[in-house]
């Protein structure tokens, strides 16, 4: 509505989420929105029921013509009440907000009410966090994977799940059980034990201090979570439900994913905690890797032309240059209204990319298909080569050919696939370091955070790695770099990196942010 502030929104779809990078606005609200989506993913990533839903979601994505999407949606309908309650409560608590209705988001008032019924209105956020997480995990941690394991996936009918195994029913059971009393009792004990400690008392506007999750207080938080998970489990079991212990579903989930993969021989893509980082708890939820960030500056129209029919170069005078991208044709079809020559039949193609202007207006994006890197040998202007990581994965030989051809100082890899596990892999070998810096880039009414860097091992250095993200993702990367042993050892922040690489980054970021419709490490699905 005109005149009203633009409020942020988000959308979670099993493997990741989409958030808008609109510039300005309330930073704390942006954090709330993205944290909300993050907790949806975390709940699916670490639980048995979540593993069940996301496996069927992966099948639905691989086989959209089948009935998998119906199974997925019915399973989601059995858990949506719990999912929203968890995401609303956890995002409020972890962004230092009170458990009260969220101004501007009336659809979620009911869920705030459910959280308050579950954990109580007057408990310390340190207790509320452990209680809400324990309750949600107990609701999602039924023996559902073992039940599915006994029948062919094609014949699995969600209706075969007893009501006591459905998360929404389990939440309702907990609300009418003695679980809220157990939380109140735990709060009272915690208050007596910790009530005078600085982390419990908090500070101005901060109820859940970072210190309350660190060291001794962090260990006690884990104990409390375990205790309340036990209380929630007991309450559910008393009502006839089964609860399995945390992580006890991993074997059954791995078996389910294996069976699902057998149904999709060409490859089932399921990016979840178990696949991304089986040995790294920190990476559960893949905060950085789950993002899809739609951009609004690029023209929707695009023209595809063969090399030689038109220049394909960008810029004027001293800034004249060529910008070659390695992209997947599928992505071009998804993102642009294509005109001109048909796209080659290939898993990835290289194109000189530029913007066509009509006066001051950005009219369309031009893709000049370049089949052989050698044809650019005679160009007299600098040629920048930028590979999208999904295209490099789809066509590794083509990517290698362009990487050999490119000037290393003008070669970049824009990550549109999960970056954290890749970075750990690159940095695990030898004494490799990731020299990096993060900057906010504001362009065309959008705020995008750019994590840029190079993996360096002695005299060897990688292409410039570019990771577009949000403030939430940048903060998560900063925290992960400190807390994950591999990243902690490898990541070296170089505050001057953007200045050192300024000419290169100017070119890459201008093309990226003004010619792409979607970025982010979860955007490879587009």
């Amino acid at each position: 509505m005109g005149g009203e502030p633009q409020l942020e929104s988000g959308r979670y779809q099993w493997f990741g989420w989409t958030v808008s990078p609109t510039a300005g606005g309330d930073v704390s609200r942006k954090r709330l929105v993205e944290t909300h989506e993050y907790f949806h993913r975390q709940l699916d990533d670490v639980t048995a029921f979540g593993g069940l839903v996301t496996t069927f979601a992966a099948l639905a994505e691989a086989r959209p013509e089948g009935t998998w999407a119906d199974v997925r949606d019915r399973l989601q309908a059995m858990s949506d009440l719990l999912h929203e309650t968890f995401a609303v409560g956890m995002s409020l608590l972890t962004t230092q907000r009170q458990l009260v209705r969220i101004e501007g988001y009336p659809l979620y008032d009911r869920f705030v009410g459910i959280v308050l019924r579950l954990v109580g209105a007057n408990v310390h956020p340190w207790v509320a966090l452990a209680a809400l997480r324990a309750a949600a995990l107990a609701c999602m941690q039924g023996p559902v994977l073992a039940l599915v394991g006994s029948e062919a996936l094609e014949r699995f009918d969600p209706a075969s799940l007893e009501r006591s195994e459905r998360p929404n029913h389990r939440l309702v059971t907990l609300l009418s059980s003695d679980f809220p009393d157990a939380v109140a009792a735990a709060h009272e004990r915690a208050r007596q034990t910790h009530g005078r400690e600085a982390w419990w008392l908090g500070s101005e506007g901060v109820g859940l201090t970072p210190e309350s999750m660190d060291g001794e207080a962090g260990a006690r938080s884990q104990d409390l979570h375990q205790e309340l998970f036990g209380a929630a489990s007991s309450a559910l079991q008393a009502a006839g439900a089964s609860v399995i212990s945390l992580n006890a579903h991993h074997g059954d989930l791995a078996a389910l994913v294996r069976r699902a993969r057998e149904l999709v021989p060409e490859g089932l893509i399921r990016i979840g905690a178990l696949v991304e980082a089986p040995d790294a708890e920190l990476l559960h939820g893949g905060a950085l890797d789950s993002q899809t960030i739609p951009l609004s500056a690029a023209p929707r129209r695009a023209a595809v032309l063969p090399y030689g029919s038109i220049s394909g170069l960008s810029g004027e005078g001293p800034s004249r240059h060529g910008f070659v991208t390695l992209v997947r044709p599928d992505r071009l079809r998804d993102c642009y209204e294509l005109q001109g020559a048909p796209l080659p039949q290939a898993s990835a193609i290289a194109c000189l990319r530029s913007t066509v202007f009509d006066g001051e207006e950005r009219d369309s994006v031009l893709f000049v298909v370049v089949e052989d890197p050698n044809v650019l040998r005679d160009e007299t202007v600098p040629i920048y080569v930028s590979l999208s990581s999904s295209a490099a994965a789809a066509a590794p030989e083509l990517a290698a050919a362009w990487m050999r051809h490119a000037d290393p100082s003008r070669l970049s890899v824009v990550m549109d696939t999960p970056a954290t596990a890749a970075l750990r892999r690159w940095c695990s070998a030898g004494r490799a370091r990731f020299r990096t810096a993060t900057r906010r880039v504001s362009v065309a009414g959008m705020d995008v955070w750019i994590i840029a860097g190079r993996v360096e091992d002695g005299a060897r250095r990688s292409a410039l790695v570019v990771m577009p993200t949000t403030e939430f993702g940048a903060r998560w990367f900063e925290a992960a770099s400190a807390e994950d042993a591999v990243l902690d050892a490898a990541v070296v922040v170089d505050a001057d990196l953007f200045e050192q690489e300024s000419a290169h980054l100017d070119v890459v970021l201008n093309h990226l942010l003004l010619e792409e419709h979607v970025v982010g490490m979860g955007s490879w699905r587009r």
Partner: protein, 193 residues
């Protein structure tokens, strides 16, 4: 070619009203979730996934679609009340198409009813609980003298049915301020009434 069906507006607040009218004291979270989920789906408001959206929502759709969606949402909640969840969504919609005993039309107010509303609004007797007796006093003397409290009570009930007023505890009523009338009130009575 036939004329296109006129559009009807349905909002988040209307859905809240619809639920409140149909299940005024219900705390059944599963039924409410079924109602919301089915309404959103039947109105075609959401694609796949879970959303975090600001504001409420407003849709402008052909009246038949709105009516069918409301009926489907209520049916889904009814199934849930009856202990039936995971009912096929298409089945709910198809069944809703057969349900014609639900009257979701605006209630027509008589001239006396509208006079009562106007007088109460003129005297700022809106958005606060009032008794039938207080409401009667708002009428002009000549009308008041020939109107019983029972007739005022009946008029207030019609205002509730029309979405102009709400019932309050203790047999009192709250008349809504101008412009805040509910769009829809459901009565499960005679559809021809």
């Amino acid at each position: 070619m036939s004329e296109p069906e006129p559009l009807m507006r349905l909002s988040f607040d209307d859905a809240e009203e619809l639920w409140a009218a149909w299940a005024p004291d219900s705390e059944d979270l599963l039924a409410r979730a079924a109602f919301d989920r089915t309404l959103r789906w039947a109105l075609g408001m959401e694609d796949e996934g879970l959303y975090f959206r600001p504001g409420g929502w407003i849709v402008d759709l052909p009246a038949t679609v709105v009516r069918l969606a409301c009926a489907a949402a209520i049916l889904a909640a009814g199934f849930q009340f009856a202990g039936l969840d995971d009912v096929d969504r298409e089945l709910v919609i198809a069944t809703a198409g057969l349900v014609s005993a639900m009257n979701v039309r605006r209630v027509r107010l008589a001239a006396e009813d509208r006079l009562l509303v106007e007088r109460m609004r003129d005297q700022s007797l809106t958005d606060l609980p009032v008794s039938s007796k207080q409401a009667r006093r708002a009428l002009p003397r000549r009308v008041r003298d020939r109107t019983t409290r029972e007739q005022i009570h009946d008029a207030l009930e019609r205002l509730v049915a029309a979405g102009v007023a709400d019932r309050a505890p203790g047999g009192e009523y709250i008349v809504r301020a101008a412009g805040r009338e509910a769009w829809i009130r459901v009565s499960l009575g005679d559809p021809t009434a």
